[in-house]
Symmetry: C2
């Protein structure tokens, strides 16, 4: 079955919301999509007739297996395009999202399969989010918070949450981004701040507040 850009955007937003809250309600989806609750109700009716939703009047709703499959397809396209924009065209990682919002609606299946191969079958997008494979399977990574990384363990930065521009600027200044290899030299228990050694760079110090937004992994 084929879906309009608008339908795909609703499906994707429902998917993201239900990842966090389990079930979704009309107002929060309207807020997420910057539209009116009445518009949401209208679209839900459409998605229901297309058998993508588990829905109970006045209660709440979520995607069924059918809907999830569609959502994962869109997420997959979005993240592959983000990877392309950052790693091939040299966009900064904070610029790729808006453009991928358009590219994700290009429909050709073969395009996405070839793009994936061209990019070298990446597992994570420039924000560190996992890229679903063509069957909708998401690579599960044993990520851990930088705050809880043991001393002297080399690790790779896999994602950064809470995209506060000033925090991102600070991390950039220290040369820390997705894929950066680093280790924790010292932990100051009194305020939770960390002395970080980025490979081939001088050590730097991150507050606990910042460290909690940085996730790393190692083999």
């Amino acid at each position: 079955m084929n879906f309009t850009t608008s339908e795909e955007n609703y499906i994707k937003s429902i998917y993201h919301l239900q990842q966090e809250t389990g079930t979704v309600n009309t107002n929060s989806l309207a807020a997420e999509m910057q539209t009116r609750p009445a518009s949401v109700t209208d679209m839900l009716k459409k998605l229901r007739t297309k058998k993508l939703l588990q829905y109970e009047r006045y209660k709440g709703f979520k995607l069924n297996d059918n809907g999830k499959k569609i959502a994962l397809g869109v997420v997959r396209k979005h993240r592959l395009w983000e990877f392309f924009l950052a790693n091939k065209l040299g966009f900064e990682w904070d610029k790729v999202h808006a453009i991928a919002e358009e590219l994700e609606h290009v429909s050709s299946k073969e395009l996405i399969e070839r793009l994936e191969v061209f990019l070298g079958n990446p597992s994570f997008d420039p924000h560190g989010d996992p890229i679903p494979d063509s069957n909708g399977k998401i690579p599960q990574l044993k990520q851990l918070n930088l705050s809880s990384l043991e001393l002297n363990q080399n690790a790779l930065v896999s994602s950064v949450t809470n995209q506060n521009p000033q925090m991102l600027e600070m991390l950039k200044h220290y040369g820390i981004g997705i894929g950066t290899e680093l280790k924790v030299m010292k932990r100051f228990e009194f305020d939770g701040s960390l002395e970080i050694k980025v490979l081939k760079k001088a050590a730097c110090i991150l507050s606990e507040q910042v460290a909690k937004n940085v996730f790393v992994h190692y083999d």
Copy 2:
């Protein structure tokens, strides 16, 4: 100013038609766009209020300078994406058009500028059609028909018209495509057929009918 996908498609089609006939009429545009004349009239009214058209009721119409600028922007995007699909993702040149029809409507200016650099500032798409630069200037190539290429002059295939699948298959069999370097060894005047030497390959013979559809250029 911003344009919808539908508007861009009309603008592009008008551009292509007026390249051939100078001025465009409602029925031919309707045929080109696989829609009804009444729909064309509706859209023309819209494009007129946006000051893109030179239009006279019941007579005919064409793009003004404003409209041409928009058209060239869309053509540029289309052909850069075609180049990407063929040269980076490995699509056959007869598969790229349909996908580029979608990609050409992605709006980011910076995306296209970066894509162009990434592709190495190509001048021609996989069909041999010229790619307008960011100012709308089209590289004018002194193309000439393979039939009128002088003997022993090395030349590059720059485009192939009349995309008859069987003819394309024949050319492919002989190793002749966009960018192929070749020369004419012998011309048989009685039927206009040509003996062609593709560099690093054995000679082959093309009928005049085929040769007339192949265009080449040299420095």
